[in-house]
């Protein structure tokens, strides 16, 4: 009992941040599954969703802002795909990767220009930021909401991939890009849907993440984006459940390490984990061939 009392705050924080990483990681893993592209700009779409929320909430009611933020993220993500990735689809993979890095820096610097480099404070979303006590731990409501919401969303996503026509198309494209286009699958549509889903989840993730850690600045997307990417690799890039499991593992482990007192090593841990996984099991936890990849 004493053990749980001591560690409960860390585990709660870890599960919450893990859920938020998971929502970002899905975007990485799905895009990789289909395009074999690491979409470096994804973390910045996440940051921009947060930033737009800051501006929208000053003129619009909350529910409308939330909807508009999600729409904004989708529009931004699909525009990036159309402008920066689609023309390069037949180019070597390295070119498209560099294009992604370029977009990432463009988004960061544009945010720097808009905000003037100052940290913006995320708006208070009523009950999400209310303080609640569970046993020995006191935390924000969002900590409890995040894992539940994440799991519900992932469940819906897996259902979509398994049981709908577009889901089947996505699985086909991720298995074999050329053959599926020969079979009459509209590749452009499948890719657009992938970006729509990934960006919508990143927007939801940004609402949860920034409700908990309320400062947004142009580099805010970099660290969560990087960790979500590690989570995606850890779980086996291309696999949705893998990314979610990876994200929760990283979130919890990171906070437990801080709890032991090794605060200096919490970030190092994440990246050491990445190296070990790549050495021991290059395909990640769930990255085996016979698993459906999207």
């Amino acid at each position: 009992m004493g053990f749980i009392q001591t560690w409960l705050p860390y585990i709660l924080a870890g599960v919450a941040v893990g859920g938020q990483y998971a929502l970002i990681a899905i975007g990485y893993t799905m895009v990789y599954g289909i395009l074999r592209l690491i979409n470096f700009a994804h973390g910045d779409v996440f940051m921009w969703s947060g930033l737009i929320m800051v501006y929208l909430i000053t003129i619009l009611p909350l529910w409308l802002s939330v909807i508009l933020v999600i729409i904004f993220a989708i529009v931004l993500g699909t525009t990036i795909e159309k402008v920066a990735y689609r023309p390069l689809r037949s180019a070597p993979r390295m070119s498209i990767m560099i294009s992604a890095i370029g977009v990432s820096y463009l988004l960061q610097n544009f945010a720097l220009y808009i905000t003037g480099g100052l940290t913006k404070t995320y708006p208070t979303i009523g009950w999400l930021q209310r303080t609640v006590s569970i046993g020995s731990a006191t935390t924000k409501m969002v900590t409890l909401v995040t894992p539940v919401l994440t799991i519900v969303l992932v469940f819906l996503l897996v259902m979509l991939i398994k049981h709908t026509k577009i889901g089947m198309a996505m699985r086909a494209v991720s298995r074999d890009f050329e053959t599926s286009s020969l079979m009459g699958i509209d590749i452009d549509r499948v890719i657009t849907v992938t970006f729509v889903i990934g960006c919508a989840l990143a927007a939801i993730g940004s609402i949860l993440y920034f409700s908990n850690y309320t400062g947004i600045q142009p580099m805010s997307g970099a660290m969560p984006g990087l960790k979500a990417f590690v989570a995606a690799v850890f779980g086996g890039i291309g696999s949705v459940p893998g990314a979610v499991v990876g994200a929760f593992v990283i979130g919890v482990a990171e906070n437990l390490i801080k709890g032991i007192g090794w605060t200096n090593f919490s970030d190092a841990f994440t990246f050491v984990l990445l190296i070990i996984i790549l050495m021991v099991k290059p395909t990640g936890l769930f990255g085996e061939k016979n698993i459906d990849k999207v």
């Binding site: 480099g117 709890g259 605060t263 970030d267």
Partner: protein, 393 residues
């Protein structure tokens, strides 16, 4: 066609960069009766908010006193402002930029780390620099060109430790940022002084770009500390305050001069968090200055935005104001606009009539200051309340 396009784009880029160079040298040649003061401050990055506030004080002072008489000749004072981006490598480039712009003296920076990083550039150029609120001893210790008008971290750390001990706090949780000379230095001096008094200390650090302070707050609670000492940047501070509220920290948060900012009061407003800081200037210390600068910010939309959207006065702004006048005094004393002459005049300078108290320099180049103001945040009004004046001994 594609090749032609690529060629055109390249040409446009080259032309643009040439045009930019041309503009720069053009403005340099027109400095007949103007003297330039370099402002070396962060306008973005971790310390962007504080740097902007410090710059505001300098700009206001320039507004109040736009000319200076040196050796019987009237000069217009022009500010050359650069952004060091709160980044040690960018700081060097920004400092070189100032030197090449031909400034006579440099003011800044907010944040000790960037000042230490740029010290070599100023030393090589023989450029006098006046640190405004950089409190780390190293800024002036290794650099003869660097002077400063604020108190130092060993002093501030002792003051804070004394305050904590006198208020019955026996165990302190100290949090600093990895690789940040300011917070690490201040934490070390605090620990040294606090242990000497008989206190117990738990020390931790967080990495760059970290925004998750949940576990640090939880660690402070787990270790049963009486006070949370975290003299970190205001960006991190807002997040710490937020987490402290979320997890009901239940102990006061103590910090240094950096936290004397409306970013902090804004973050703490309406929250159940006790915040105590030491600082350079107490609002109300000079009513004329207070009302003047507030009116200026009210009538100047840019200034108000840079101050965080309101006209609350930060101590660093008052210090920036003072620094400008110290620079003018130094030029008058030197009777020349040449950096070398100004440098020679600085050690003997006695600047009076400033808002944060008179300034004289000791042999290292630091201002002789003996007291700091202790302030506490009122969580209902979101304003600072004066607690006491605290000396080191």
């Amino acid at each position: 066609m594609k090749k032609f396009l690529a060629l055109m784009l390249t040409l446009v880029l080259v032309m643009m960069s040439l045009a930019a160079c041309g503009g720069g040298s053009g403005s340099d040649s027109g400095s007949g009766d103007t003297i330039k003061i370099g402002v070396f401050e962060p306008a973005s990055g971790d310390n962007g908010a504080g740097g902007k506030q410090e710059t505001l004080g300098i700009q206001y002072a320039n507004e109040v006193q736009p000319t200076v008489e040196i050796g019987g000749k009237e000069y217009n004072v022009e500010l050359a402002i650069v952004d060091n981006e709160s980044d040690n490598s960018k700081a060097v480039t920004a400092a070189q930029d100032l030197v090449s712009k031909g400034v006579s003296i440099v003011l800044g920076s907010y944040g000790s780390a960037v000042s230490i990083a740029a010290a070599d550039v100023f030393a090589d150029a023989g450029m006098p620099a006046i640190g405004v609120t950089c409190t780390n001893p190293q800024v002036t210790a290794d650099c003869e060109q660097y002077f400063r008008i604020c108190f130092l971290d060993p002093f501030q750390g002792t003051v804070l430790a004394n305050y904590a001990w006198e208020n019955g706090m026996k165990k302190a949780y100290c949090l600093s940022k990895q690789g940040d000379d300011y917070s690490k230095g201040l934490v070390n001096y605090f620990i040294e002084a606090f242990k000497k008094l008989g206190g117990e200390v738990v020390e931790e650090q967080f990495p760059d770009k970290n925004s998750d302070f949940t576990s640090y707050v939880a660690n402070a609670k787990k270790n049963g500390c009486d006070v949370f000492f975290s003299p970190v940047s205001t960006e991190a501070a807002a997040l710490i305050i937020d987490q402290a509220e979320a997890q009901s920290l239940g102990m006061p948060i103590l910090a240094g001069d950096t936290w004397d900012s409306n970013v902090i009061t804004g973050a703490a407003k309406g929250k159940n968090v006790e915040i105590v800081v030491t600082t350079f200037y107490q609002e109300g210390g000079n009513p004329e200055f207070d009302s003047g600068i507030k009116e200026w910010m009210e009538n100047n939309a840019d200034a108000k935005t840079n101050n965080g959207g309101n006209t609350d006065l930060a101590a660093v702004t008052a210090m920036g104001y003072d620094a400008y006048f110290v620079a003018l005094e130094a030029m008058k004393a030197a009777g020349s606009t040449d950096p070398a002459d100004i440098l020679a005049a600085l050690p003997e300078l006695n600047a009076t009539g400033l808002v944060c108290g008179d300034v004289t320099f000791n042999e290292v180049g630091d201002a002789n200051k003996t007291t700091a103001f202790v302030k506490k945040c009122n969580n209902e009004t979101g304003a600072w309340e004066f607690v006491k004046e605290q000396a080191a001994e």
